[in-house]
Amino acid sequence: MTRHPSSRLRIGIDVGGTNTDAVALDARDRLVARAKRPTTDDVTGGMRAALEAVLAELGERSRDVRAVMLGTTHATNAVAERQGLARVGVLRIAGPVADAVPPLAAWPSDLYGKVVAGVAGVGGGHLIDGHPVAPLDIEAVKRFLGEVAGRAEAIAVTSVFGPVHPEHELRVAELVRAELGTAVRVSMGHQMGALGLLARENSTVLNAALGPAIAVVTAALSRVVTDHGLDAATYFAQNDGTLMEAAHADRFPVLTIGSGPSNSLRGAALLTGRSDAIVADVGGTTTDLGVLVDGFARESAAGCVIGGVQTNLSMPDVLSIAYGGGTVVHDARVGPDSVDRAITTRALVFGGDTPTLSDAGVLAGRIALGDRDRIADRRDGGAAARLKTAVEDFDTELSHAVSLVSHGRRDQPVIAVGGAAGLVPDTVGGHAVERPRNADVANAVGAAIALVGGEHETVVPAGSGRREALQEARATAVERAIERGADPDDVSVVRIREVPLSYGGRRSIRVTVKAVGRLADPGLPPQTAADYE
């Protein structure tokens, strides 16, 4: 007897600062297993523990797992904490035409210190019409590579108009292989997207720096899958809420940044059946507020800022406040430090000696956690009062933040998700609060339902031929998404970007089209009404 198609399963994993969550969803997006384990220092341990717990819960059905999707804040944390980053040789190919702003001019000095092994600007690059600014100064490139040899673990190379004329970057990549060997990774600006030299250069350098951080996660993920003999493809969730094959993550680690907010928003949508809402994701260290529009995360117009650095990466428009379950309640203030995953030993309700926002939530009767009496045991003069004030502070900050992201509109509910979702009061600044079942694993749910994207970039004529050419570009993006595994019945174009290119008579537009769709199960016939019987 053939197994029912809906038996195929997807596992979504979310590595958070405090917990690592895993869920298994069936083909109809029903949650069939879930687990929550503490995040471990090595990430691997927590991820393995959560995945194994879900597999155990699935029992025999674990062999139906066809895909494992991982959303991890690892890259974001690495930049924010300035840890586990590669030292990068930063090369700009622009001759004199960008000297007004040196590379990484606006980087925070501590991050610059951790990441930069050397900076050089060399002759080369192109004007928009393809005329060279200068020939590529190969001697200068070699000199620079010699200077950073042995110190730089990666090279980031960005040339002026590289996205249109990438040849100098490609030549530098060859030189790096020849001079420094293949162990030194090269991150190239033209692979980081749109025009805008400074933000693209920042993304390229961060991408180079994040190699080691993501390699740890990639290796761990594939080991767990192999160890359990799963016949499952592995994916990373990306900044735009779509999936990247795990094999790609080594080359584009920076794109895993920001998957958390996308996943929590999409997860909240699935869990509530809502397509328009404000989502408050309460984690261990922060509460992140995002907006769900037509089932997708509202993206910020500008590229996101990571660890104080302006990038050109699109991201959900998220407002973070420094209040999470592990936030430490000090005598005179709340946070911004957090006990993070040490909450189970350091919070008062767990017998620890550090008052946290979770303790405050327990005392206020919002959440049940640990042993409430332990707070009383330790209660001295002002402790209870401080915890009470901490909850009020949180409510005030949250309400202010919600009014900011909602722009004063109160007709949308706030969906509270995340490990510490219980801290959110029943109404926030006039918005009703919804707490769906499994809200605490919303990010993992979001990862499990992440979409497959197909992108197509081309140059189309301006004017009369534009519409036809655009139509063709859309069709190609849709095809690519399907090739990469999207369900043909579900693919749609979600983004069209047009950059006018031509100057001095030639007329054309550079177009980027993105199509996304649900991951189709190769063995799954198109769904019919019968599937739902």
Partner: protein
Amino acid sequence: MAEPMVLTADDLDDLALGCAVYGTGGGGDVSGELLAASVALKTYGDVPLVPMTDLPTDGLILPLSMIGAPTVALEMPGSGREAEAARAEVERLTGRRVVAVMAAEIGGANGVAPVGWAARLGLPLLDADGMGRAFPELQMVSMHVAGLKPEVVVLVDALGNTASLRPVDAVWAERWGRALCVASGSSALMADHLLTPADRDAVVHGSVSRALEVGRVLRTADEPMDALVAALGARSLVTGVLEDVDRDTDEGFVRGSVTVSGRGADHGRHLRIELQNENLVAWEGGAVLASVPDLITVCDTQTGIPIATESLRFGQRVTVLAWPCDPLWRTPRGLEVAGPAAFGYEHHYMPVEWTGLLMEEGRR
């Protein structure tokens, strides 16, 4: 005497935001010039912001602007040495001393960059500009409206190529300047319409401090959209979603139109904005709601942040604002230089205040 106002690196964010508002969608993305100006101020020091009356009468005022395509400016920030070359060439040609820098155009990147140029030159910045907004062509400046000739035009590109032109009039300055700019990869610094402190009626006064104030209001307000409307004395034309973006680049200009489909109270309305680097005319059906030389800016509905024409995207939620231009543009000479006809339109200019009254009339 009042304490002279000084622009510091901390003022740049607000100034840039204000300049983007006055950019009416054009004048280039301010972020690149913002960084360049910030680097310059940190390296060379703060910049005094002075009224024309504070300048020595025998000195020259150097109106500066970047010309070219906004997309290029984002990709190619320049060498930073262009202003120095331009001053040297102007002083060599005229034999006179430059005493202040002026923004030829307050709108967009060209409103922000002069602060950095002034810092690099060790000169004050004049609290004035040549437009009170942004315009796509270099004869569309107050100096031209006032009847001044461009005399000497100096162009410097990012590679250091320097040209001095003696065009017969502003239209030829535009034509020659544009041709050289295209050869330089569609980006060059230009000095034209050199001024003296006696040319009081040839500029729009107070534009730098106004842009700074608008930026400050936008950044600090709880309800940014409302605060912006109030600060500008603007009319909100429509609130909705961008549905079609039909853009093209032709002879160095971004041209095209975008359609905003109304939402909420504006449901069912469709506003079409025609643009040439800047937002030029807002149409609803066959009627003009607002038109050059009045200012039209498309803002993100949530944040009030203005969106440049090259950053307009399908699906963005926007509010379209329009407000009156400087009175000099409403004179017959001003309208001839930068009114609807100067952009190839046949409609007669009607001040945005009047079209608002007519619309209300129609609804009654």
